[in-house]
Symmetry: C2
Subunit: 465 residues, 2 copies
């Protein structure tokens, strides 16, 4: 009498696409473009390739009001996708290559598939994916998503000769969207992405045929983040159980030193002693109780060195400065990069740019430009930890900032795991450690601003005399 | 060289439990209690049972600071769960009975499992589920969730004689949590739930042994919502394709009239004509193009009658009035229930209570109490459509409300589908139709408030003379 159902992850996000950020035709266009551009930049980063990403949006037909059917095509020169992974990478939810422990824009294994899913349910047209990893062949697929089963439905498949040794990926699909009401956000997205990724060349050709061109201003790729081992802090019984089950070590000391960062032999022995677990026991022989005891012992130990920041890749003070000067043209700019910190065992770095005057329009509210893992966050400002710190935890008058001021703040948080509040990646949760680092960075920059405004004050006083 | 993985839905929400609302030990306790209480109230509603829900939280041991291991037990007198569904209902993500087209508190098939998952990863202890649908047997399971595979791991199973003909469900599990910092929100949750469900008796026994008792103040269950057919508006090609594939009708007119609400024979023929589809063709024979043409024709038709509100179950003006008076003790109260409206083919009803004076403390910001499908929403206020309407779309001074005023607004939105912004069900998205209805309801109540404040003004003027 009560009817139960199991639904697939694709079906869940189909029914609840608001939750993935695809809530209306203008936001869905924004989301589709950003998900694909972020995939392209990740693909270049992992190959240490200077990115060239070309986005073309063309109108196919009017539907009603501002809503049209568009064709969206995104092409990159990234590392491409291996043939055997292509269908699932783009037509299966929770299938991806970014589940490891290193900073990347993508993280859920969902974004690219969501964009194609949205296109599919609004136009009933299949999508085309063309990719090559630089080998002898180029692989082309025409596919749709079987939403009920969460798997690809391949309509056509072609293997082409790769005469020019091309490497990269081309995605082409159709979607019902509203460009008129998302245009401003989309152009901002490109502008801000160019600012956080100055080594990337971006091109956007809009439905009117107009080219928005963002040539790279840096010739070297940034130091890429390196896959790291997990840090013991923040590892719970589930992750610990999986690591123990997968381990090949013959004793617990080797298990701890080989599978965690910042755990040497002495640390491993100390932790095992606190847990009451013999050092020579096999990891596969641990009982349920012992796994819990081990996790508790790690919490009690408290003396681990901080997580290694090599899995993090900040923008860098110089590049951030160039980017902010170019975009905001301020009179004053102070950029701060905090030393690496960590939350729940994940390393993170906060970078802040405080800009004043020049081309920044005076306003009662501070202009906030937020970034996470080099992605611009353009929605849900009030839900973000940065908004809370800037507007509720800092008294700007103590830094001589007037009520109406030409003040802008650019923030970047980067980590192998960003605590996003939503699947749509628009706001960062207020983890205490992150809040603390943002506060420290902004205060440091604000003190420099205070000195600057103090000098301006003095000059004006002298001039008046 | 690039390593791809597929992860299960349980694994996804394990890794990203912030997104499900389980972001820290105090919020996770709140979420665990609310997810189970909402399941109990749904189970009573579907059986037209006067609810009795008992929640017991007891401390097992201290961990560090305010964090302890607690045992949480929730018992209800609802319709219970059939034996064959018990393990999956509580240990599988995206398995549930609320995927249909009628108002219910649950909607994702995820909440109960998330609470048990959170308990499991913080304590490594299995959960106990005991349930009976009132028959001869009571079924008891001790289980954990296999997170990698998203399926139950049954440790023990017992079948007991049901001598007293008991019907209901008992969930018992352990979790690491922070009661000290969530206590206020938890007590508010019970208070507000009692207000929106005056026919429910709720009991909460906290770790200090203190009983919070909310006896029912209404003796009849409200009219339950009825499962309805989908409305044609808002049905996209994916849903249409599934309906066509599942249909048993022999021709398209019968398919349309039998599978949709508000579609009679004439309407069906008109829509098919716009689509250029023969009326007598079999639903299973429709081509890809024809499915798209049908969905487009439905959009063009535009003359469907509004969705049937029988799948909606509002609180009701009288009960809302009783509840608000009891909770807020105001001098003035105006309750408004809007007629049914719809967004994207889903019917919804907005109910608003505007309360002034009495026990309401004066404040510069308006006290907002939000409800959706009879659930109190206690987080993410600034992200909610109600906050936007109350604070950005209404000029309260035009209703004689002073800057500092003892003003409270209670809002309830109910629908077979609430456009929640997040999996944690804390904020409702600003769909234009919902925004419009909230604005209309609040303005209507505000006009009554203006008259009342006008009379108060007059009286005071008279008194002064
Ligand atoms: N342009 C591309 N070039 C190379 N690989 C790609 C490209 N786009 C997608 N992929 C591969 O497909 C996978 C799935 O992409 P998808 O966007 O669905 O998820 P994700 O990027 O891993 O995570 P998120 O949901 O956070 O975006 C990626 O992990 C990546 O391996
Ligand atoms: N106390 C209960 N009594 C009867 N059935 C229950 C109870 N708790 C859960 N169930 C059943 O288990 C299913 C899964 O519950 P779960 O909370 O995981 O998802 P849901 O309530 O369907 O949706 P949501 O994720 O929005 O809460 C429910 O759909 C319901 O059928
Ligand atoms: Mg992606
Ligand atoms: Mg539920």
């Amino acid at each position: 009498e009560v009817k139960f159902e199991q639904i697939s992850p694709a079906d869940f996000f189909y029914r609840n696409r608001d939750i993935a950020g695809f809530s209306n035709p203008s936001r869905s266009l924004y989301m589709s473009i950003r998900e694909l551009v972020e995939n392209s930049l990740d693909a270049c980063e992992i190959g240490r390739i200077l990115p060239q990403v070309v986005v073309q949006l063309s109108e196919v037909k009017k539907v009603s009001g501002d809503v049209c059917v568009y064709k969206l095509k995104v092409e990159d020169n990234g590392i491409g996708v291996e043939d055997k992974h292509i269908p699932k990478a783009f037509a299966t939810v929770f299938y991806g290559s970014k589940y490891g422990y290193r900073q990347s824009r993508g993280t859920f294994g969902l974004g690219g598939t969501m964009a194609l899913l949205y296109g599919q349910i609004t136009t009933n047209k299949p999508s085309t994916v063309i990719s090559s990893t630089g080998g002898k062949k180029i692989h082309k697929y025409v596919l749709m998503i079987d939403i009920v089963e969460n798997k690809p439905k391949i309509f056509e498949r072609e293997v082409l000769e790769n005469r020019d040794g091309w490497r990269g990926t081309i995605i082409e699909f159709y979607l019902e969207a509203d460009y008129t009401n998302s245009k401003a956000k989309i152009i901002d997205y490109f502008k801000h992405t160019a600012m956080a990724n100055p080594h990337a060349t971006l091109m956007f050709i809009d439905p009117r045929g107009r080219l928005y061109y963002f040539p790279r201003v840096a010739k070297k790729t940034p130091e890429p983040p390196i896959e790291s081992l997990p840090h013991p802090v923040g590892v719970d019984v589930e992750t610990m159980s999986r690591m123990l089950a997968a381990s090949r070590e013959r004793n617990m000391v080797a298990f701890l030193t080989n599978n965690f960062q910042k755990v040497g032999e002495k640390t491993a022995r100390d932790v095992l002693e606190i847990a009451g677990i013999p050092a020579d026991i096999s990891p596969k022989k641990l009982t349920h109780q012992q796994v819990t005891a081990l996790v508790d012992a790690i919490k009690k130990y408290g003396r681990f060195r901080a997580p290694d920041p090599s899995s993090v890749s900040p923008i860098g003070k110089d590049l951030l400065e160039i980017g902010i000067k170019h975009m905001l043209k301020p009179d004053f700019l102070k950029v701060v990069q905090r030393p690496p910190s960590s939350y729940s065992g994940f390393p993170f770095v906060v970078e802040v740019g405080l800009a004043y005057g020049g081309a920044i329009p005076p306003s009662e509210s501070i202009h906030i430009y937020r970034f996470a893992n080099k992605i611009p966050l353009l929605y849900d400002e009030r839900a973000d930890v940065v908004w809370k710190v800037v507007n509720e935890r800092i008294d700007w008058s103590t830094y001589k900032v007037p009520k109406i001021a030409p003040l802008a703040i650019v923030t970047h948080i980067c980590s192998p795991k960003i605590p996003y509040k939503t699947v749509g990646k628009e706001a960062v949760a207020d983890r205490p450690e992150i809040e603390r680092e943002l506060l420290a960075a902004i205060r440091e920059a604000a003190r420099a601003l205070k000195l600057y405004l103090g000098r301006i004050e003095k000059k004006e006083t002298v001039i008046r005399r």
